[in-house]
Amino acid sequence: MKPSEEQWNRWLDGSLSPEEAKAMEAAAEEDASLTADRAFFRQLSADLKETIPAERTPPFADFFNSHLQKRIRDLQEEAESAAKQRPSWWPNWFRLSWAAPLAAATVVVLTLMQIGVIGGRSGSQIVYAYTPDDSVTARTEFDRETNAMIVRLEGMEPLPDGFDLLLADADDAEPPFLVESPAPSQETFVFVGPQPQYPSDRPY
């Protein structure tokens, strides 16, 4: 019996099934080279583990970590700087984070137009809300009490507890904000306006 490459490897590694191992042992009794192979690789395997360490302390190990931390901080600063440098003429739109898998298929693109006065204050008015997903509709309404534009999404799957929406204004100097999820519902309210505190060290 001439073993296949896989059988030969598995036999050396002791990972054959009992039936296969029995067959290989029988073959080894008739072919001395198989027995010699096993003896050779048992010794070589032990010597390899002895000779080549599975772990090595990198030189200047503490600096290895601190240098990485510095590079990560640099990356974060670059990302924040790039976000602030978008041109002012870029139309405002709000991006939903894909952090939650249920929201991955839902996109709402809001086109805003700068107008003179809304409720006594200058700002933007949402003139168009677009959802690529036909099953989801978006309606907007202005709430005078909170001075906020409310985007109502209908047709989304119920949101689980802990589901977070991260909204970002591409043209706003302020960082994007985190919206706490409401109770699971077929409707999701996304508040555009006064927002809760945003974790400033979020990497994305």
Binding site: E5, E6, W8, N9, L12, D13, S33, A36, D37, F40, F41, Q43, L44, S45, D47, L48, K49, E50, T51, I52, P53, A54, E55, R56, T57, P58, P59, A61, F64, N65, H67, L68, Q69, R71, I72, R73, L75, P199, D201, R202, P203, Y204
Partner: protein
């Protein structure tokens, strides 16, 4: 919940004659890799620092064993961890963090080697079936008198030289199997190949090592 330490299939860390071994024993009461990853995905760089400390020894060793240069291995290990940091938001825990990190480290190393175009001389070509007679005499690295008993250091040097003569493809699988103690499916995932290809590369790597070192063991 995943273990906070590398998988149980990993070998015990063997002390190195050069004293360059670093253990990766995590505090069993400390956070698991999964917990640290979740913190990292929320932007906790301190949690990432903990993961770096946990796995820098293994990552550095794996890379060093492939490139054989402390300076290059140091730089490549840095790149591997930076790539891991950037990719963490997309990590979905379909494999352990350790295996995932190893995959990144392997790819970084492999890309670097490809650029350096490091080729082993007389390496097996998997597309060509070669019959290797394990009893064939090979030219030893150093001329040794038959009556001279090889010392441990000489054996070590011969083994290291033999490993160096393997192509990156074969070196990677033999090191992952023999030094890291990885299972076949783990090797396949780390290297990004099928289990069949793992078997094939392992077979040829072992046969190559046998042809290069048979005289060493016959002399003992």
């Amino acid at each position: 919940m995943n273990n906070p330490q590398p998988t149980s299939s990993d070998p015990e860390v063997k002390p190195s004659a050069e004293g360059v071994q670093e253990t990766a024993d995590a505090d069993p009461t400390g956070p698991s890799d999964d917990e640290l990853v979740t913190l990292c995905q929320a932007g906790d760089t301190g949690a990432f620092d903990e993961l770096v400390t946990r796995y820098r020894g293994r990552v550095y060793a794996m890379i060093y064993n492939m490139v054989k240069s402390e300076a290059d291995a140091w730089d490549l290990a840095q790149e591997a961890f930076i790539k891991a940091w950037k990719a963490l938001p997309k990590f979905e825990a379909r494999s352990s963090f350790y295996t995932w990190l190893y995959r990144i480290s392997h790819n970084v190393t492999y890309d670097w080697l490809r650029k350096r175009k490091i080729q082993a001389e007389g390496e097996f070509d998997e597309g060509v079936q070669q019959s290797v007679d394990p009893k064939a005499k090979t030219v030893p690295f150093e001329e040794a008198r038959p009556d001279e008993k090889l010392q441990h250091q000489e054996l070590r040097k011969r083994i290291e030289n033999a490993i160096d003569q393997l192509s990156p493809d074969h070196r990677a699988v033999i090191l992952l199997k023999e030094v890291e103690g990885r299972q076949y499916n783990e090797i396949a995932e780390i290297v990004g190949i099928s289990i069949g290809t793992v078997m094939s590369r392992l077979f040829y790597a072992r046969k190559k090592l046998q042809s290069l070192l048979i005289d060493v063991y016959e002399a003992q």
